[in-house]
Symmetry: C2
Subunit: 188 residues, 2 copies
């Protein structure tokens, strides 16, 4: 049953400034045919950062989310610019969003948003050994930095303004990494 | 800074069978104006289930994801049908996807996929006190049920075929709930 379906046809069915929708005609190994639609990412990927302000404290940001039309408490994140390495993107986003650079970056995992209908993903990276440094980003207003204790994540998860699945997943992965149960890869 | 931006204008910029893209003209409280795009959900929402096969074991499924063009190990999930309650949707999806119903459903949280550019979300629900019962779903091929020990989630997270951020987030919330550090709401 793990023989992948055959892709009979694919074509672009809708497009906007940020989004492209592709239609996939599939034939599963049992002969069943289906038409799937999926969202194609633009650009070169994205990063989400679990930045350790000290051994017990991570950096959250409070940011307006156009999707939910409200402010949300989440992790620093952003798109990888064309030609930028993953490490460069991480260190730029950190400086733009929380006013810190970092000397060590450890890649944990590329997360998918919805494997069913979205391609692409976001790379989750732990940042350690921080130093103060500010870069101007493209944010419409300054982001608020909210330090949060790692031993108090359950309280964060209970908050109505903490809703982003990817951020909760990134924090869970970081906890496993910090507990020595999950291997990361240092970005050189 | 937490005064929400004013929405000056909104309009539909692209549409396909499954996706609708809306453009938002925003004016932030500091006067900066920006155009955001976001994905609008179709339908009545979606559920993701952490089903306890016993006190130590949850139900994973192996399913083809059109978005990533590969099989993935994730949690049972699906759309809420029109007119269906959250509890009804949960019990239908469970029976369709893993061949079990449940007598108890506890709602943990509505997760957003990307607050920046997606509206809508998915309700995370714990299912307990299971009984065998199979319903025919609309899957193109049968899903494989993969029991997984709760004390071994770090190994799941390390697998290349476990990538879905929402599922990892749902499991992290369920762990906090089962540890008594996160409150859920029983669905009646």
């Amino acid at each position: 049953m793990h023989k992948k379906p055959q892709i009979l046809q694919r074509h672009l069915v809708a497009q906007s400034r940020l989004f492209r929708v592709e239609s996939l005609e599939l034939r599963f190994s049992n002969g069943v045919e289906r038409t799937y639609e999926r969202l194609m990412p633009g650009g070169s990927g994205a990063v989400m950062l679990v930045a350790l302000l000290d051994n017990d404290t991570i950096a959250l940001i409070r940011e307006y989310g156009g999707g939910i039309e409200d402010y949300t408490l989440t992790l620093p994140k952003g798109a990888i610019d064309l030609g930028e390495s993953l490490r460069e993107a991480c260190n730029r986003e950190l400086q733009e969003e929380i006013g810190y650079g970092a000397r060590e970056f450890i890649h944990l995992k590329k997360l998918s948003l919805s494997p069913s209908y979205m391609s692409g993903g976001i790379d989750v990276v732990v940042a350690r050994d921080l130093y103060e440094s500010k870069l101007e980003g493209d944010e419409p207003e300054p982001l608020e930095l909210v330090p949060w204790k790692l031993n108090n994540l359950h309280e964060l998860y209970s908050r109505a303004d903490c809703t982003e699945g990817r951020a909760i997943a990134a924090l869970a992965l970081a906890q496993e990494f910090l507990a020595g149960r999950f291997d990361g890869e240092v970005l050189g």
